[in-house]
């Protein structure tokens, strides 16, 4: 932290932790018309490549496309929270599930192992969409820095 008493300027580097626990955030937006076009062009191949069977089932119905777009945004948000852009990110190892009205993040396979290695303890996920875009934010609390 630096202070300049003459101009009363204070600069603070905010620590990325709370009570010693590291906090990570990821966010992303996805264009709904892009998801619509992918579905129209590649159909089930697109669905099966990106989404789990559970996600595909959860998104069925009138709002299928914005729901899928929000889940895609969630997966990209999770990738950002990992902050390791060069590691592989199998989309289906990142799954959005539901606990009543709340979306939850479930990791599996190599990403679950990676999260464990990074000290991920808990996560909170929020999804939203408008006519044109869907978005997601994920907050991850990690174990304290050793």
């Amino acid at each position: 932290m630096t202070e300049s008493l003459g101009k009363a300027t204070i600069t603070v580097t905010i620590p990325g932790e709370v009570d010693g626990r590291r906090v990570r955030v990821g966010c992303d937006v996805a264009a709904i018309d892009e998801v619509q076009e992918s579905l129209a062009t590649f159909g089930d191949r697109y669905l099966r490549k990106v989404f789990t069977a559970s996600e595909i089932s959860d998104c069925e119905g009138r709002n299928q496309v914005p729901r899928l777009a929000a889940r895609f945004a969630a997966k990209e948000a999770v990738i950002k929270a990992f902050a390791e852009p060069d590691m592989p990110f199998p989309w289906r190892e990142m799954e959005v599930t539901r606990d009543g009205p709340l979306p939850l993040l479930r990791l599996s396979g190599t990403l679950a192992e990676r999260a464990q290695h990074q000290g991920w303890l808990s996560s909170s996920l929020s999804l939203s969409h408008a006519d044109c875009h869907a978005m997601a934010v994920v907050v991850v609390v990690c174990s304290p820095v050793e």
């Binding site: 996805a30 062009t41 490549k49 199998p90």
Partner: protein, 81 residues
Amino acid sequence: MHNQIREVLAAHGRMAVDPHEVDDQADLYELGLTSHASVDVMLALEDEFDIEFPEEVLKKSTFASVHNIAQVVEGLVKLSA
């Protein structure tokens, strides 16, 4: 192969520029390729070259340039031959 890749990018990449005009090493994300569009590019490349992208190559850098895409596709084409 590079021309085929550029054709796929033109059809599915939703980029802000004509992919036929970009350098092999140019950063495609900087030129407008989105993460979601890269899914379409991947699926179209699978169709074009009769290959399947395994999970270990599903990383940002794979689609970051025509050069990178070509390297990965060449490897997968050899594997499937």
